[in-house]
Structure formats: structure tokens, C-alpha cells
């Protein structure tokens, strides 16, 4: 992948490595991960639990805590004022300013993301006040406004509610409000709908799409749910065992999946309209990420595994236009 930060770029991640130093050994959670996010698009990071998708997004703003460590990587970000910075090289205070203001997060579980002892309003107001110099009254009014934007009924009352007084869907909307209140350039949504009912899921996703259309925001959507991806994303990165194995535009990926993992992933989602004899699954389990062996990480489960797959890790190459894949089936050797 090129290292050119174009006008269309909002975020560019190259060769990101995150390791965890645990009792059991060194876990290579994220290995040489590279991806791009452009203006006003929704990019999906798809993978199973343990694929490294969450850690990659946390690493972007250096939210990794011990025993985790960001070993290396380049993360270029275009700030609101137009300047391009390497987030890995900024001071702690600089990064703090960017978080919650220019890059915002939505976490998976809204119940645990909110401090049970403080009201929703307090959460939003503090997010505003720690980034902008406004008086409290204005901040409170802004809080009510942003709650309204996320379709929370009776925002004037809700602003004084505690997290436990709200339903799951409303909690997630509150979390979204907090993340959006400072109009971030980049929103990282980590499994925003996984813990919610299916009906609420649809509402939240529509809300996200709506907000992207209205503002100039880009979204990184982390999920394991292909249905959500199909509904919402413009481009997709498929991750497995800490690596990116395939990336393409949404239509292209679903029509022409190249990587065996992606193919099996798509096949394992049953089509409700077709008569199914057997549920497909991918045999085997995700490998341990402690001291991974050489070679392609998927080869133990891959039906097309070759000799070279055991020996060397395939590079990510552009197999078709804007369609990248890391697999020896396509790379020249």
C-alpha cells in the first residue's frame, strides 16, 4: 500500500503492531495492519472475536493500556484545521484534545461505558467542557440539542436521568450523543449494536447513516455481523488473527470474495430465502496469537492451503482494482 496521504484521506494507518505482554506469553494482537479512511465514508472492519479489530481502532488514539503496547506503526490523521499529524508521535495532552473532539468512539456495551453515578447530561456536558471554552448553560443546552438529534424522546427530562433509568437502546443513543456532541471528523463505532435487540439495531444503524449524510463525518464500523456491514458500509476490511486479509468496496466483496476466509464467512451466513440442508461453518478454531508460527495464519483451516502457505506470510496485494487480498492464491511467487 502506498504511503501517500491524499486530499481524500482522513486517516491513514500503516504497519500497526500491538502486542500484549501477559502471563501466558506475548500476544500478537495486531500485526502489520494497514488501512485507510476517506472523507465522508463508512468503513467496516469485519472479523471474529480476537481478530484484532477492536485493538486496531483503540490503538489509533493510543487507548491501549498495560499490559498492551503499541509496538510500531504510522497513523496519519487530518485534523480539523487541515494539518496532518502522526498520532503516534503526539504528546499525551495533544492526543487527549483530539479524543472526544476530532476522533470519537462508541463502545459496544452502553451499560458499562456510562458511569452509573452520573447523569447522562453530566457525561455530555463534561465532554463538551473539556474541549471547548463555553459556559455551562450553553453546554447544557447543547446537550439537550444533541440528545434530540439522536432521537431520544423528552431530552429535557432525559438529560437529568441516570444510566440505569434508561433502556438499552436509549443508553446507546446517549453514548452516541456524547461521541457526536463535538462534531468529530472520525467516529469509531465498536460493535455499536451487538448488545441490542434487533429492532433497536436497525434504528441505531439508520441513525448512524443519517448522521454521516448530514455531517462531514467518516465512520469506522467494527463488527462481526456481515448483515450490518451489508446494510451500512461503503468499504470493508476483513481481519483474521490480527491481520487484514482482504479489503474491497462493499459490492465487490460480497459479489467476488477472494480470500478463502471471506468466502467461508459469507457462506456461513444462511440465506433465509433458500432451503438449507446444513448450516455451514468454518472448521477449526482461531489460532492462539501467542508467538504465532510463520506462514499464513489461516492455513490450518484453509481448504486451499499450499506448501508456501505454511512457510511464508502472504503480502497484501491489489488483486483487482481497489480490491486487496493477502493470499498465496493471488500473490505471485
Amino acid at each position: 500500500m502506498s504511503k501517500e496521504f491524499t486530499d481524500k484521506h482522513v486517516l491513514m494507518v500503516r504497519d500497526l503492531n500491538v502486542r500484549f505482554y501477559t502471563y501466558a506469553g506475548v500476544v500478537h494482537a495486531v500485526s502489520d495492519v494497514s488501512f485507510d479512511v476517506y472523507r465522508n465514508e463508512i468503513v467496516a472492519l469485519v472479523g471474529e472475536t480476537g481478530s484484532g479489530k477492536t485493538m486496531s481502532t483503540r490503538a489509533i488514539t493510543r487507548l491501549i493500556e498495560a499490559p498492551g503496547r503499541i509496538e510500531s506503526g504510522l497513523v496519519l490523521f487530518r485534523r480539523r484545521n487541515g494539518s496532518v499529524v502522526n498520532l503516534m508521535k503526539l504528546s499525551d495532552e495533544e492526543i487527549r484534545r483530539i479524543r472526544g473532539d476530532e476522533i470519537a468512539y462508541i463502545f459496544q456495551d452502553p451499560s458499562s461505558a456510562l458511569d452509573p453515578l452520573y447523569t447522562i447530561g453530566h457525561h455530555i456536558v463534561e465532554t463538551i467542557l473539556d474541549h471547548k471554552r463555553v459556559i455551562k448553560r450553553i453546554a447544557r443546552e447543547t446537550a439537550i440539542k444533541v440528545l434530540k438529534e439522536t432521537a431520544i424522546p423528552n431530552p429535557e427530562i432525559r438529560v437529568k436521568s441516570y444510566p440505569h433509568e434508561l433502556s438499552g437502546g436509549m443508553r446507546q443513543r446517549s453514548v452516541i450523543s456524547m461521541s457526536l456532541v463535538n462534531s468529530p471528523i472520525l467516529l469509531i463505532a465498536d460493535e455499536p449494536t451487538t448488545n441490542l435487540d434487533v429492532t433497536i439495531q436497525a434504528q441505531i444503524l439508520d441513525l448512524l447513516k443519517d448522521l454521516v449524510k448530514k455531517s462531514n463525518m467518516s465512520v469506522i464500523l467494527v463488527t462481526h455481523n456481515l448483515g450490518v456491514v451489508a446494510e451500512t458500509a461503503d468499504r470493508v476490511y476483513v481481519m483474521y488473527a490480527g491481520n487484514i486479509v482482504e479489503s474491497a468496496e462493499i459490492q465487490e466483496l460480497f459479489e467476488k470474495p477472494l480470500h478463502p476466509y471471506t468466502q467461508m464467512l459469507l457462506r456461513s451466513v444462511p440465506n433465509p430465502l433458500k432451503k438449507i440442508e446444513k448450516l455451514e461453518s468454518i472448521p477449526g478454531t482461531v489460532p492462539t496469537l501467542i508467538n504465532p508460527p510463520p506462514g499464513c495464519r489461516f492455513h490450518p483451516r484453509c481448504p486451499f492451503a499450499m506448501e508456501i502457505c505454511r512457510r511464508e506470510k502472504p503480502p497484501l496485494i491489489e488483486a483487482e482494482k481497489n480490491h486487496y487480498v493477502a493470499c498465496w492464491l493471488y500473490a505471485k511467487r
Binding site: 463502545f107 452509573p116 452520573y118 441516570y162
Partner: protein
């Protein structure tokens, strides 16, 4: 639902508890097979007429429910008499309880001053020498027999350093006492509260400007207070440490950081959450201290209510015992109530 109804409900539940406590105390007293009256008059003459009169006064010849009723009514009308000291039980308690209160307060201040900073430091410097030290303090504090520690503290601070003394306790002057009584009578409710606070020599001395009372009291009490704090401080510091670590590691803290909150505000979230279990523990500790540290008062020769209870038991002085046990139990229940209310104030989830 709300805060108010929560408080109301909690208050209602403690009435049966108090009644139960009263009854329990009475049962204990009544269960004595020996004749307490003989114990009461043992030092004086054994004139059988006197013994009979005392029996009549305390209704020993009446059936148990009449006796119980007698005790209850005389407690509530403040007319119960201490048969050994020949004074009104309430006068005795009025001089002794404030002493226990000031001991409890000074001990509590030491306790908080030791345990909270140590606990937070132990959390921040996890597994360092500070953490280790706090752990050791906790183990020794909970394994050390209190009376042994007291003896050694006396050895160090009294015998060697001569930095404290072990007899009597400073009291506010009679003029000050009169001033307080005046306030109590002139301003009904508020005056009563202020006067009660003033009965505690530490505060009364400050109120009347009798600063020597304040300084002497501190000089008298800091050794037992420090001992009590050392015994409990380690344990509480550990709780603070674990609670703080739990809070720091939680999702909402990570989310707070993800929202780019300033470090101070991130800490505020963690600290408030830490305070939830810590307040409970501290409140219960204070309640325990108020119940009269019997052993500390005995060893350090402090004339507080714990000592009074102990002496009453030794002399089988049941009127005194019942009154003071009742007071102590009442205080304990009130403290529990306050702790519950504080807990609900801090943690909105509890208010239901």
C-alpha cells in the same frame, strides 16, 4: 420513587429493631439467677429493710412484664436511677457519652487520614513497596490483639516519651456548661443541638474559648486514637486500594479517556465510584468506634460509655447497663441509617 420515600422507609424499619434491642437487653438482664441487689449493696450495710426497699423500687418482686415496663418508662422519662452510684443514670451517661464521642471523632480523623491516602497510593503504585507496606499494615492490624498494642503504645508514649497522660479527662468549666444550658433552653431545637455538640469537651472548649481544654483533650486522646486508627487503618486502606483499582479498570473510565476528558475528570469518576463501598465501611467503622471501644477505654483509663457498660456488668448494675446498652444500640442503628442514606445519595441506583 425517590430519595424522600427511601429515607422514610428506612426509618420505619428501624423502630421494630429498637424495640427488639430493648427487649433483648432486658432478657439478658433478667436471665441472671443471682440477686443483683445484693451485688449493688455489697459495700454498704446489709440491712434487709434497705434491700427490700431497693427491690420495691426496681420492681423485682413484680412479674417480668411489669419490670420491663418499669425500665422502659423510666428510661424514657429520664428517671432511671443508678443503684450503685446513687445518681440518675442519665446524668452519668451525659458526662460519659461525650467522652466516647470525642475519642471516636479523633480516632476517626486519624483513621481517614491514614487509610484513604495510603489506599490510593497503594492502588496507583500497585505492587510497589507502598502496596506491600499497606498489605503488611492490614495483616498486622487485624491480627494484633488490641490490648497488647495499647500497652505498648502506653510504654512508648507514656513511660518513655512522657508525651501523654493516663488519668481523668479534661472537662469544660462550669461557666461554659451554664452557657450551653442557657442556649439549650432559650432556643428550643437549634439550641438543643448546639448544646449537645458543646457537651463534647473538644467542641465545648472551642465554643467557650477554653482552648486549654481542647489542647489537653488532644494530648490525652491522641495515643488511643492513633492506636485505634492503626488497628483498623490497614484493612480499610486495602479496601480503598481494591475499590480504586476496580474503578480505574472499568469500562466507563476507558470511555472517559476515549472522550478525551482531562485527567482530573477521569479521576473524579474513579474516585466517586471508589467512595461507594468505602463510605459504607467508614460509616460502620465510625459506628463501631462510637459504640464505645471498651478495651481502649479500660486500658487507657478513659471514662467513656464503653467503660461504663463494662463496669455495670461487673457490678451487675442492670439499670445502668440497660440504659447504656440501649443508647449504644440506638447510636449504632442511627449510624447505619445515616450510612444507608449517604450511600443512596452517592449511588442513585440504590434509591429503589
Amino acid at each position: 420513587m425517590g430519595f424522600g420515600s427511601f429515607i422514610a422507609r428506612r426509618i420505619i424499619t428501624f423502630i421494630p429493631t429498637i424495640i427488639g434491642v430493648l427487649f433483648l437487653t432486658y432478657i439478658i438482664a433478667y436471665a441472671v439467677p443471682t440477686d443483683p441487689v445484693r451485688a449493688w449493696v455489697s459495700e454498704k450495710l446489709t440491712d434487709p429493710k434497705l434491700i427490700e426497699r431497693i427491690r420495691e423500687e426496681y420492681k423485682f418482686n413484680a412479674p417480668w412484664y411489669e419490670q420491663f415496663a418499669f425500665f422502659v418508662t423510666s428510661i424514657f422519662t429520664g428517671s432511671l436511677r443508678d443503684p450503685v452510684r446513687h445518681t440518675n443514670v442519665f446524668d452519668e451517661i451525659k458526662t460519659r457519652f461525650p467522652v466516647t464521642v470525642e475519642l471516636a471523632l479523633v480516632s476517626f480523623i486519624f483513621l481517614v487520614a491514614i487509610s484513604i491516602p495510603l489506599g490510593i497510593l497503594a492502588a496507583l503504585y500497585k505492587d510497589s513497596w507502598i502496596d506491600f507496606l499497606v498489605r503488611i499494615l492490614a495483616f498486622f492490624g487485624s491480627s494484633m490483639p488490641s490490648f497488647v498494642l495499647y500497652y505498648f503504645m502506653i510504654l512508648i508514649f507514656f513511660s518513655w516519651l512522657r508525651a501523654t497522660y493516663l488519668a481523668g479527662i479534661p472537662m469544660i468549666s462550669l461557666q461554659c456548661m451554664d452557657k450551653l444550658n442557657n442556649i439549650a433552653t432559650t432556643y428550643p431545637v437549634i439550641g438543643g443541638v448546639i448544646a449537645s455538640i458543646g457537651y463534647v469537651p473538644l467542641f465545648g472548649g472551642a465554643m467557650c474559648g477554653e482552648w486549654d481544654v481542647v489542647s489537653e483533650t488532644l494530648k490525652r486522646l491522641y495515643v488511643p486514637a492513633l492506636s485505634l486508627a492503626l488497628l483498623n487503618g490497614g484493612f480499610i486502606a486495602r479496601i480503598v486500594r481494591n475499590s480504586f483499582l476496580d474503578a480505574l479498570g472499568s469500562e466507563y473510565i476507558l470511555f472517559a479517556k476515549a472522550r478525551g476528558l482531562r485527567r482530573f475528570n477521569v479521576w473524579r469518576h474513579a474516585l466517586k465510584n471508589t467512595m461507594v463501598p468505602v463510605t459504607t465501611i467508614l460509616g460502620l467503622s465510625f459506628g463501631g468506634l462510637l459504640s464505645g471501644a471498651v478495651i481502649a477505654e479500660t486500658v487507657f483509663n478513659i471514662p467513656g460509655i464503653g467503660r461504663y457498660m463494662y463496669e455495670s456488668i461487673m457490678r451487675l448494675n442492670f439499670p445502668a447497663l440497660i440504659a447504656s446498652v440501649l443508647l449504644v444500640a440506638l447510636i449504632y442503628v442511627i449510624i447505619n441509617l445515616i450510612v444507608d442514606i449517604l450511600y443512596a445519595y452517592i449511588d442513585p441506583r440504590i434509591r429503589y
